[in-house]
């Protein structure tokens, strides 16, 4: 019969699992990524080194490996009691933060130096300059690449299915192994679910882009 109707509850659970995983990881990635980008342009050398190391490490680690490090390594280091969902959020969020950082930093680099000089000249501190003058202008350029990164994040979240997290990927695995359904039909519905999420992300970012557009 119809895979979707027969297993609607499972699909729904998987869909919301992916949405939650993507949403929370995005939040973590945006906060961390912006913070690390601030580190990378800060006048403090130690922060710059930390930022560069963070990006280099996370950007060059395969995501599956990072999942292994987080799900096996962190509990071994004494971080116990986190369920697999939150560990997945951590892995996805940290991984994507490295890319977000670079997108934000490229946005920062498009803001003319004079803007920061003017802000410093009226007496703003580094943090005030970044927060009130540079980042708001940097975001406009960084929004499109960040949108792509969030979409990539949504699809990357499927890796969590290998680590005991209920999301679309795990639903697909379960259904594939349950006999009687056409595997291509399962793929189709799963793909459609992802499409709903990624289209929503694109739409949201297009909206943001319009909202932040300012004459210059």
């Amino acid at each position: 019969m119809n895979v979707l109707l027969d297993n609607f509850a499972a699909f729904r659970e998987g869909f919301w699992g992916t949405v939650e995983l993507t949403g929370l990881s995005t939040l973590l990635a945006l906060v961390l990524g912006t913070l690390i980008a601030a580190f990378r342009v800060s006048p403090v050398p130690a922060l710059r080194i930390f930022g560069a190391t963070w990006v280099t490490l996370l950007r060059n680690t395969p995501l599956v490996l990072l999942f292994l490090v987080v799900t096996l390594g962190l509990p071994a280091l004494g971080l116990k009691g986190w369920d697999s969902f939150w560990l997945a959020v951590m892995a996805l969020g940290c991984y994507t933060s490295a890319f977000i950082c670079e997108a934000v930093r490229s946005g920062i680099n498009t803001v003319p130096v004079g803007q920061a000089e003017a802000a410093r000249s009226v007496g703003m501190t580094f943090t005030q300059t970044l927060g009130n003058v540079v980042l708001p202008q940097a975001v406009r350029t960084a929004i499109p690449p960040i949108g792509s990164l969030i979409i990539a994040l949504a699809k990357n979240s499927a890796i969590a299915s290998g680590f005991n997290v209920v999301e679309l990927g795990s639903v697909m695995k379960t259904l594939n192994s349950a006999a009687g359904y056409n595997i291509y039909v399962i793929f189709f519905w799963i793909a459609l679910c992802y499409l709903i999420i990624t289209f929503a992300v694109s739409g949201l970012f297009r909206l943001l882009e319009h909202k932040l557009a300012v004459p210059r």
């Binding site: 006048p43 003319p112 004079g114 803007q115 000089e117 003017a118 802000a119 410093r120 000249s121 009226v122 007496g123 703003m124 501190t125 580094f126 005030q128 009130n132 003058v133 708001p136 202008q137 406009r140 300012v214 004459p215 210059r216």
Partner: protein, 258 residues
């Protein structure tokens, strides 16, 4: 006895607002500021002129430490410029800066440009800051543009907003780094008039410019720089009618006769 030390320290700096001592700076191999000694008194208007590449813009930018120096000391109102950080930010708030390319905050309205520093740095209430901003914008003649974005204004209007933005911090001294060099000719005067008025009101000003007319009429002192050195300084009437150095004579002959 400690009082004696205090007076000894503050006596020479009594009315000296900006003091540069033995300032040196390099850009790579280029020695852009060479042993600069300069004292600017409170209320004085100093105009810095000279050929391009002479270091005059750099000199201006070292005064609020937008450019760091390699050696020497810079003091503003008796306080040496601190290293980057909160202290420097506090001191910069007292030093207004006007740039060649205006550098108005592109994502803020004209009004917000003038209130931002007051609110974030001086911690002024929003209503108070806006009231003051509107007064200043009226004073520089762009009050009716308050709700526009910088890109919607002409160059001359933008520069006057930039002056208002600097004035909103109640600076002790104003630095002008070629404020009219990026302007169309018909807009230069509207900016110069604002600066003239400022000079008449007693503002301490350091003005890097190519506007000799302004130097003649508004300056208390003209500083002629070439190759990273202050070659000559004199009252404007003296400097323009009887420059002493050959370098200044050569410069003036090139810009004044055609």
């Amino acid at each position: 006895m400690s009082e004696v030390d205090v007076t000894k320290d503050s006596a020479p700096g009594g009315d000296d607002l900006v003091v540069l001592e033995n300032v040196n700076k390099h850009f790579g191999a280029l020695h852009v500021l060479q042993d600069i000694d300069l004292t600017i008194a409170r209320g004085e208007v100093v105009v810095v002129i000279g050929p391009s590449g002479s270091g005059k813009s750099t000199l201006c930018r070292t005064i609020n430490r937008l450019e760091t120096v390699d050696s020497g000391t810079i003091r503003i109102d008796g306080e040496p410029l601190p290293a980057e950080g909160r202290e420097l930010a506090r001191l910069r708030a007292d030093v207004g800066m006007v740039f060649q390319s205006f550098n108005l905050f592109a994502h803020k309205t004209v009004l917000e440009n003038v209130t931002l520093g007051q609110i974030k740095v001086r911690k002024a209430a929003k209503a108070k800051a806006e009231e003051k901003a509107r007064q200043l914008l009226d004073r520089v003649g762009v009050g009716s543009q308050a709700d526009k974005y910088p890109a919607q204004l002409s160059g001359g209007q933008q520069q006057r907003v930039a002056i208002a933005r600097a004035l909103a911090m109640d600076p002790k001294v104003m630095l002008f780094d070629e404020p009219t060099s990026a302007l169309d000719p018909e807009m230069i005067n509207e900016v110069l008039e604002v600066m003239q008025q400022l000079a008449r009101d007693g503002m301490t000003m350091v003005v890097v410019t190519h506007e000799m007319g302004f130097a003649r009429s508004a300056a208390n002192r003209v500083l002629f720089m070439a190759d990273g050195r202050i070659v000559e300084q004199a009252r404007p009437d003296q400097f323009f009618t009887a420059p002493k150095s050959d370098r200044a004579k050569d410069f003036l002959s090139k810009i004044l006769h055609h």
